[in-house]
Subunit: 265 residues, 2 copies
């Protein structure tokens, strides 16, 4: 499996604190040693840092921890390989372009029979993971449904929720997806989120001896949501998402939500 | 304008030496201070490092100089903005996917009337540069010509050369383009290349006090081609490309070449 982390904020915010906790799970406090990656949006642009090395040993991960890139949307993934070899092309997040936006995708879980059940034509995977294949299938279905005309967020993400539910029938599909403006989360069985806003307090990482006083690093208007497979702090209240539940965040706030049918058995 | 650098090699090779020279031109020995980026292919995967900061001051550029990522194909760009603001979405190289491959693109030059002359439908730019617009137009034309079926390298790159010649009519279009397997270079007015192979010798950077003895870091079978807008060393013989000339490299060797009509006047 693997671990996911994402952020949505109303002001450019760095993710050094949360990332410091997560990267320890890549070969230190956790077994997710088969590569890692993170994508930061800055305006319409985004940049990714990726390494097939374990995050706990990666010089690039150290740079990301120490160099505070400020972003309004971030998606991060550390990998424990189950489908596809350990190599760069199989390292999440995956980014593709649609309607003049960068779309970034990361998946936790495992899918069966995905090649047969999710045929792709227009978007062909580069690597050999079930995850990237499912991303390509989502992009194909969106292209077939909407063509070159971008729909409203409401129509688009309701459609993506339907697609997520179909993919989820093939196994476990915890999904994080962003186009820079919006951050979409679909819970198969394992996602938690927290929205931090004034009055800000302290928080302690579970995976490293590190405490942050958010009061010191924020202004009264900041709203920052963090989503992760497992809570990253042990002294805050994280919301656990339900199976089949989806949420859409924009500028740190949840703006749309829904519940898809869950699997039987 | 800007500066371009690319490498094609038959064994995974690091580009630290050439990159050390080039990055000095981003705010130190040269005026190209409006961001920089580099894309490394490793197998079918690729990873990019980008920064809107001048390369001579960028902590990420320092990491790339010190962390020897071994690659068979590299494309690198340092920017002096002329079209589009200084921001991440306008920072080269640009990467998109086609036929299950990552395609990476960097452009030196400036184009007039590109929005009217190069209409796009399927591939929409994220940023506001003439360069990314031309890349999207190339991808659109390839999609219209070949659809979902990948053609032979010969047919594909001959077609890309035709497209390059059309774009070149709009101004200056020095192009580097790679799909990981092949590296394509189109010269509008300013590209040089060199192929290094046994017996290897020493070389001295023009932009930094740095000498490398390639004999020490290679084996007898290594073949490494470097392409740059301007030669990076002053004690080797670089080939100057002619206006309208194009070259295709694979595993360090030139495998196809051609000459397109040049502009009148």
């Amino acid at each position: 499996m693997c671990e996911l982390l994402a952020m949505s904020a109303n002001v450019p915010t760095d993710i050094c604190f949360s990332f410091s906790g997560l990267m320890q799970r890549g070969g230190n406090t956790g077994p997710h040693k088969d590569g890692w990656g993170v994508t930061f949006y800055e305006g319409k642009g985004c940049r990714s840092f990726k390494d097939p090395l374990p995050s706990a040993e990666s010089p690039i991960a150290t740079l990301v921890t120490e160099y505070p890139i400020k972003s309004e949307a971030v998606i991060c993934h550390i990998r424990q390989a189950n489908s596809g070899a350990v190599c760069l092309e199989n390292t999440h997040p995956f980014t593709r372009q649609m309607w003049g936006k960068n779309w970034t995708y990361a998946h936790n879980g495992q899918l069966k029979d995905y090649a047969q059940s999710l045929p792709v034509k227009y978007h062909i995977p580069v690597g050999t993971t079930d995850s990237e294949h499912a991303f390509c299938w989502i992009l194909d279905q969106i292209y077939i449904q909407f063509g070159v005309q971008e729909p409203s967020d409401q129509d688009l993400f309701a459609f993506i929720a339907e697609l997520s539910e179909k993919i989820n029938r093939l196994g476990v599909f915890n999904l994080l997806l962003s186009n820079g403006d919006c951050l979409f989360a679909y819970c198969s069985n394992n996602l938690h989120w927290i929205t931090r806003r004034a009055p800000f307090g302290e928080a302690s990482l579970i995976d490293a001896e590190m405490i942050v006083d958010f009061q010191q690093v924020t202004t009264a208007n900041d709203v920052v949501t963090v989503i992760a497979t497992q809570p990253l702090t042990d002294d805050e209240r994280w919301h656990k998402m339900q199976a089949g539940e989806w949420l859409l965040f924009k500028l740190g706030e949840p703006i749309l939500k829904g519940q898809t049918p869950t699997k039987i058995g």
